[in-house]
Amino acid sequence: MHIPDGLISPQTYLPALVLAAPLWWWAGRQFARRVGDEALPRLAVFTALAFVLSSLMLPLPGGTSGHAIGVGLLTLIFGPWVAFLGYTLVLLLQALVMGAGGITSLPVNALAMGFVGAWTAYLLFRLLSPLRAEVAVFVAVATSVLLSALLVALLLGLQPLIAQAPDGSPRFFPFGWSVTLPAVLLPHLFIGLAEAALTVLVWRHARKRRWLPASVSSTA
């Protein structure tokens, strides 16, 4: 669901940058405090896995793309702040290496998929922790994918309303919510379920290998 460069107006990406910058700074502090040198290799591997997962893209009629995200997995293993920062790096690499997403759209993509995705997965997993752990992981990840997709669809559909030429023609993304909501949300309904199943598989493996933090292991 990456939004490419050139489709998002400065009226959107500048406020998003103002919002994302202090969150990145705070996430950086959390990262320095929580991730020691011994955890960095594991983080790099899971960041790379998130990169691979979200690189398998399918263009969607809504002007974006459909793919798994991988941020739920990062969140369950490293916590929401580190996941947000890690996913920002994934988005940056994808923008530079593969041309997917972009630099101006980075704050928007990072907030929608990285921040909202990570915190939704984290909070829902905590909330559902009395249930069987696999069910909590599945529901948390599927919901986080859907919520991120909803946010992307809303922001894309907002563009023709806030960035118009004097004659009323759109200057950036041209379709409204009537197109973006079904075009982005419907495919992500299936993508979210597939990603949730995949996350359960990897999460169980991580638990077996004792890669999970103590706080998560105790709820599992």
């Binding site: 530079l96 041209p174 598989l201």
Partner: protein, 185 residues
């Protein structure tokens, strides 16, 4: 005079933001031609590399918007030219920057970010290699294509094996970096 890598990165970021403030297709067309001219040898390959990730999204948007214009009777060509050109100019700027800027050197002032980038890039290559190896191995051992179930099971097995291998490999890289003093910040 050759520009330093951090300066190139800064220039690229400024240019990308500036392009989103331009709303005249003719200016964007001139910019596109200018970038192609300035990017030197290999400009065709560069243009194709820029086009590859955005072409399907642009085609989908253009086709959908043309259809909408045809149904509603609105003039949509100017808006479409503006959107397509802007996306292309930024995509071209990005691949040009990636080709001519060494990100490791550009990030020299942020060693932790640089180290993370190095390890993540290494892992990405490892994952790609493992998937390729798996595909080749499967092709060479079976005369008929695998069923969907076999593919899922195989992908799950290779994915988990790749994770174990990736973690092991990244730990070795970190140990090697530490022994060479790369982590002494």
């Amino acid at each position: 005079m050759p520009l330093s890598h951090p300066f190139r990165l800064g220039l690229y970021l400024t240019a990308v933001v500036a392009v989103t403030l331009i709303h005249q297709p003719a200016v964007l067309l001139l910019l596109l031609a200018g970038i192609l001219l300035l990017s030197g040898k290999g400009r065709i390959a560069l243009a194709l590399r820029a086009l590859r990730p955005v072409i399907w999204i642009l085609l989908l948007i253009s086709a959908g918007y043309l259809l909408m214009g045809w149904i509603t009777g609105q003039a949509v060509l100017a808006a479409l030219a503006l959107i397509n050109l802007r996306v292309l100019v930024i995509a071209l700027l990005t691949v040009w920057m990636v080709r001519d800027t060494d990100l490791d050197r550009a990030l020299a002032r942020w060693p932790r970010a640089r180290r993370w980038l190095v390890v993540v890039r290494g892992q990405m290559q490892l994952f790609r290699r493992l998937v390729d190896d798996y595909r080749q191995a499967q092709k060479s051992r079976a005369s008929v294509p695998p069923t969907l179930r076999q593919r899922y099971l195989g992908s799950a097995a290779i994915g988990l094996a790749a994770l174990d291998k990736g973690v092991h490999n990244a730990e070795l890289v970190t140990l090697a970096m530490r022994s060479r003093g790369a982590l002494d910040e």
